[in-house]
Symmetry: C2
Subunit: 190 residues, 2 copies
DNA sequence: TCATTTGCCTAAAAGGTTTAGGAAGCTGCA
DNA sequence: TGCAGCTTCCTAAACCTTTTAGGCAAATGA
């Protein structure tokens, strides 16, 4: 009985590719087994269950996003950093829609705390070093940026901005301009 | 054989309640049949398939959201309208998490064009009448607002902002202040 | 080389989706 | 009132996915 050489690592990687091809919620143990030409039950030596598979794909996607963001931010600051970071998000979502969906997959708080999501939050905060914001306002701004990037990208990949003028790229650029302007002129607390 | 009085309408309504109770993607034909004490196959006289059920729940949620937004916007303008609209979104998501998820369910473009999503977009644009923006900038701003509301609410319901100070309500308020400020001082095209 | 570990298998239970065909209940018309 | 025809719900059956249990064969290494 020849061995297929399954490992958790390889399964998760293949699962991520599958997600990009057919959508994150079409990623099933069955589909993965088919891809490796192996019986479904064989996967259960490497994965606790199919929820475990999805969680691991989510963690992989977060790592990849954090790595790209870190690289994009190196040597940049201010608006330059803001744009670079934002584009990492958007480009990743367009190139890897399944993985991007995975990255948004809810994790229990313990798993989330040990994930690369933490690194992403730190990088987001690093962008704000180029702007002059008080400590609590930094947190609000981090949340705003996270919301805009996630929201824009997810509406865009859902097709929300296609079929209407002006094109999405134009809005994206202008929204980044607007965010930069907002961060430079953050309103004082009333 | 007593009849249970199933109709597509009642099934979709019950499906929406089920979504709020157990999560949108736990909404199955089986669970719905159990709730009506009816055999699963009986549902197929009223629903094409289980994807059809989910689509109909999504359309219901969009209608409800649009209705609430329309009511909240009546008689308001400027920052007042912005805040009222934003709170409709957030409150709806908190009160009806399953329906809110449903409202974000991808629809094919034809279905989307006939949905209450169109009304929501119009209402968003109506908010901007209180601000002085050029025509193309209005579209960019509509997209920004949609992104922020959707992004914030979805990160919040995913638990993104719990367990860290300051609390989410505080950020929400300050973000609305910031958006109002941004719309009043929208940066000119370079 | 042989004992142990590991990897993949078969088998089976449990539950979801969907179609086909049939019988009981309801409606409307003679 | 009686019955024709439609609607509603049923049983049956095929098929797919998840998960556990137990077993044999391949790889590892002393």
């Amino acid at each position: 009985m020849a061995r297929a050489g399954l490992t958790t690592e390889r399964l998760v990687r293949a699962g991520a590719e599958l997600a990009d091809e057919v959508g994150f919620d079409q990623v099933t143990a069955s589909a993965l087994a088919r891809r490796f030409d192996v019986k479904v039950a064989s996967l259960y030596s490497h994965l606790r269950n199919s929820q475990d598979l999805k969680t691991r794909i989510a963690l992989l996607a977060l790592e990849e996003l954090a790595d790209r963001a870190a690289e994009a931010l190196a040597g940049r600051s201010g608006k330059d950093a803001l744009g670079a970071f934002a584009n990492v998000y958007r480009d990743y979502a367009r190139a890897h829609p399944g993985r991007y969906t995975a990255a948004r997959h809810p994790l229990d708080s313990e798993t989330a705390a040990g994930s690369a999501g933490v690194r992403i939050a730190q990088l987001t905060r690093a962008i704000l070093r180029g702007y002059d914001l008080s400590e609590p306002d930094q947190t609000h701004a981090v949340r705003l940026l996270g919301s805009v990037f996630h929201g824009y990208v997810s509406l865009e990949t859902a097709g929300g901005f296609s079929h209407s003028a002006p094109d999405s790229q134009e809005s994206w650029t202008r929204i980044l301009d607007a965010l930069d302007s907002l961060l430079r002129n953050w309103p004082a607390h009333p």
